[in-house]
């Protein structure tokens, strides 16, 4: 084989390998990012349902049910933070957890005293949706 042809073949193969690695890693990143987005959406849905369940004016406060839900939320957030493959996304999840903690504290304080106002749930959900949209870069 002509030495030039051999060199060209090697160069071509190296290029093809590099391209294949790049394409594969992009695919993996996209796949994982999609999984990470789905995780954030799941946390959003959990938090919205939590507000819907407890920010109801006049509803009798069930401390045991409330604590069980908060514990479930804490576990979900901790699991999401531990499972997050993108290290850059971890602080975002920590911020979302901070919002969940603040929501739970406010809701407990209001619901346990029977002071849930008619506009509370709607406004809380607005803020939750906003922070999650920001977390997802929307």
């Amino acid at each position: 084989m002509n030495p030039n042809t051999a060199k060209n073949l090697i160069a071509r193969n190296v290029f093809l390998c590099a391209a294949a690695i790049a394409i594969t890693s992009c695919g993996t990143a996209t796949f994982s990012k999609t999984g990470s987005d789905a995780q954030i959406e799941s946390l959003r849905n959990f938090e919205l349902a939590f507000i819907d369940e407890f920010a109801v004016p006049g509803k009798r406060f069930n401390a045991a049910a409330f604590d069980a839900k908060v514990n479930q939320g804490n576990a979900k957030f901790q699991q999401a933070i531990a499972d997050e493959k993108f290290t850059a996304r971890r602080p975002v999840l920590v911020d979302l957890k901070g919002q969940f903690d603040a929501d739970a504290t406010h809701l407990r304080s209001k619901a346990s005293r029977g002071k849930v106002t008619p506009g509370l749930a709607t406004e809380m959900k607005k803020d939750v949706n906003k922070i999650y949209d920001h977390a997802l870069g929307r």
């Binding site: 603040a102 406010h106 304080s109 209001k110 002071k115 106002t117 008619p118 509370l120 406004e123 803020d127």
Partner: protein, 122 residues
């Protein structure tokens, strides 16, 4: 973002907003300066080129109206102001140095004055 500097509050139409009408009823002398500063900054924020600043002003206005109508109480209002501040701190910190002062004035500072003015609405 428009350049810094004090501008007169513009009214887009002759009709007053629900918040302006509510604020007009506040006669507490000790709050007069805060009320005027608040209305001026809120009007600037509502027409700012930054969507986040406009959105924050809009939300703040809506929540003051909800407070006035007793759909939320002062505890809720303060909670939402804290949420807004938390969200906006990142935005203010990410602004270029020359825009930071104005961004802070039209967001975090407006929220702080709002908490004072809100007391007079209830």
């Amino acid at each position: 973002m428009p350049s810094a500097g004090k501008r007169k509050r513009k009214k887009s139409s002759g009709k007053k907003s629900a918040l302006d009408s509510a604020l007009d009823q506040v006669t507490d002398e000790s709050l007069a300066a805060s009320k005027e500063e608040f209305q001026d900054l809120l009007a600037q924020a509502k027409v700012d080129t930054s969507e986040l600043i406009r959105q924050n002003a809009q939300e703040l206005e809506e929540r003051l109206v909800l407070l006035k109508k007793r759909k939320i109480d002062k505890e809720d209002f303060d909670f939402f102001v804290e949420n807004q501040k938390r969200d906006l701190r990142v935005f203010v910190d990410s602004q270029p140095a020359q825009s930071q002062e104005r961004a802070e004035k039209l967001t975090l500072h407006v929220l702080e004055i709002a908490a004072r003015v809100a007391i007079a609405l209830i």
